[in-house]
């Protein structure tokens, strides 16, 4: 059988117009947040952003970019490992993120062993030929199960991970709790939800009376999600609805969730632009502690502990990630800060709001 992917491409322009018309007729000014670079990509690439604005719907990205929300300290840890002769395996998006002086790319051109991987399994394979391999474990719930799988299977002793993972629901809670931005609804990330299901969002709706819709990544998915949120607003409901039923189950991927829980436990962690968010990070459970690069290489990483790391001067990534500022409102956007010469991670990652804005503008 040859695959037919067209059936999953929900891009019918006529249908899109119809939904847009519905949204327009609803005649409501609303502000929404999503937390996913892939959503932002769809919104900007297909020109939905301006179309929706015209009919009264404003959407901002929020902290939905795993690379963007890593802290300067974590970036410095990655760089320090590479500078000290470890093989550092990273997703490509991390390579050009500026540390306090250098990037991983700089270290590589100076002879450091920095390898781009597509999957943690690629990093694992490297451990057969290399000395010490550290996989930089960046990513939300979508990515975490793959890391958990490798750790559970007992990788070789010269393999470790630098845990920089974060989970989404506590960050949403932080956004609501900080109350900096007045939101009428949340578009929840489809592939994070593929793993965690729809249940973890429920307490948020209960507590903050905020409508939520889990959405897919095709243009029609997002338009439908907006329309569903609009209906909730108009009808005074604050529920968790699922637009992406072709993938997301209510209970999520149970196998993947169990695996995550077996290997990791929650821990408090900072996100760029945010204070410490309780239980929003993950650390390896004690029985897997030998795979934690922070412990394993505490001789190298220890000295970083007492140092303070400043975010790049003039960079507004933090405000962009909290949804209080648009990328193109940053004074450095497009002049001093471009994908080729980025100041902050939001311009580096292809999931970052600044990078997406720059690419499609």
């Amino acid at each position: 059988m040859k695959p037919n992917f067209d059936q999953f491409k929900l891009r019918d322009a006529k249908k899109a117009k119809k939904i847009l018309k519905k949204i327009e007729d609803a005649d409501e000014k609303i502000k929404l947040m999503h937390v996913c670079g892939t959503h932002q990509d769809t919104l900007v690439k297909h020109g939905l952003d301006p179309m929706l604005k015209k009919v009264g719907v404003e959407i901002c990205q929020g902290p939905g970019c795993p690379v963007c929300v890593t802290t300067q300290r974590e970036i410095e840890e990655m760089i320090t490992l590479a500078e000290n002769g470890k093989t550092v395996a990273v997703f490509g998006d991390m390579l050009n993120v500026p540390g306090s002086e250098k990037t991983l790319l700089d270290i590589r051109s100076e002879g450091g062993d920095v390898k781009i991987v597509y999957s943690i399994d690629d990093a694992l394979k490297m451990a057969k030929e290399k000395d010490e391999v550290v996989f930089i474990s960046v990513g939300f719930e979508t990515t975490i199960p793959s890391t958990a799988n490798v750790i559970k299977n007992g990788p070789p002793s010269n393999f470790s991970i630098l845990p920089c993972n974060r989970v989404v629901p506590p960050a949403l809670e932080a956004i609501m709790d900080m109350g900096e931005i007045d939101l009428d609804g949340l578009i929840e990330p489809g592939h994070v939800s593929t793993i965690i299901g729809t249940e973890p969002y429920r307490s948020l709706s209960d507590r903050y009376k905020i409508p939520q819709v889990v959405a897919g990544f095709e243009p029609l998915d997002l338009l439908l999600a907006v329309w569903m949120l609009l209906k909730q607003v108009q009808e005074g409901r604050s529920e968790v609805e699922n637009e992406y039923k072709r993938v997301v189950k209510e209970e999520g991927n149970v196998k993947a969730k169990k695996l995550m829980e077996k290997v990791f436990e929650p821990t408090d962690v900072r996100w760029r632009g945010f204070p410490n968010i309780p239980d929003s990070g993950l650390k390896l459970r004690e029985r897997y502690g030998m795979y934690d690069a922070r412990d394993k290489f505490s001789d190298i990483l220890g000295p970083l502990k007492d140092r303070e790391f400043e975010e790049p001067e003039g960079c507004s990534c933090g405000a962009v990630l909290r949804g209080v500022m648009k990328s193109n409102e940053c004074t450095l956007f497009g002049d001093e800060c471009t994908p080729n010469d980025p100041v902050g991670p939001c311009m580096v990652s292809r999931e970052g709001a600044c990078n997406i804005e720059y690419r499609y503008r």
Binding site: M1, P3, F8, Y118, D122, S146, H191, K255, S349, E351
Partner: protein
């Protein structure tokens, strides 16, 4: 980074499967999902994270069209 793309499962061999991404075949880890050959899956960072229901893609749209049309009628 949460970008995930659909693929079609070809041969399964333990934790791994060959997945057809429309001409390009890649090895993908399928240990997180229960799938058979000829199933569609969503793949992220080398792992299939969920099965994709063929019918549901079409259905989700049809359902919404119905909902919207019903509403149109109600509003007259």
């Amino acid at each position: 980074m949460c970008l995930a793309v659909p693929g079609l499962v070809k041969n399964i061999n333990g934790e791994d499967a060959e997945i057809d991404f429309g001409g390009v075949i890649r090895k993908v880890n399928v240990s997180l999902v229960d799938v058979e050959e000829e199933d569609y899956v969503i793949v992220h960072a080398g792992y299939a994270i969920e099965k994709l229901e063929e019918e549901d893609a079409r259905k989700s749209l049809e359902v919404w069209e119905e909902v919207m049309e019903a509403q149109e009628k109600m509003q007259g």
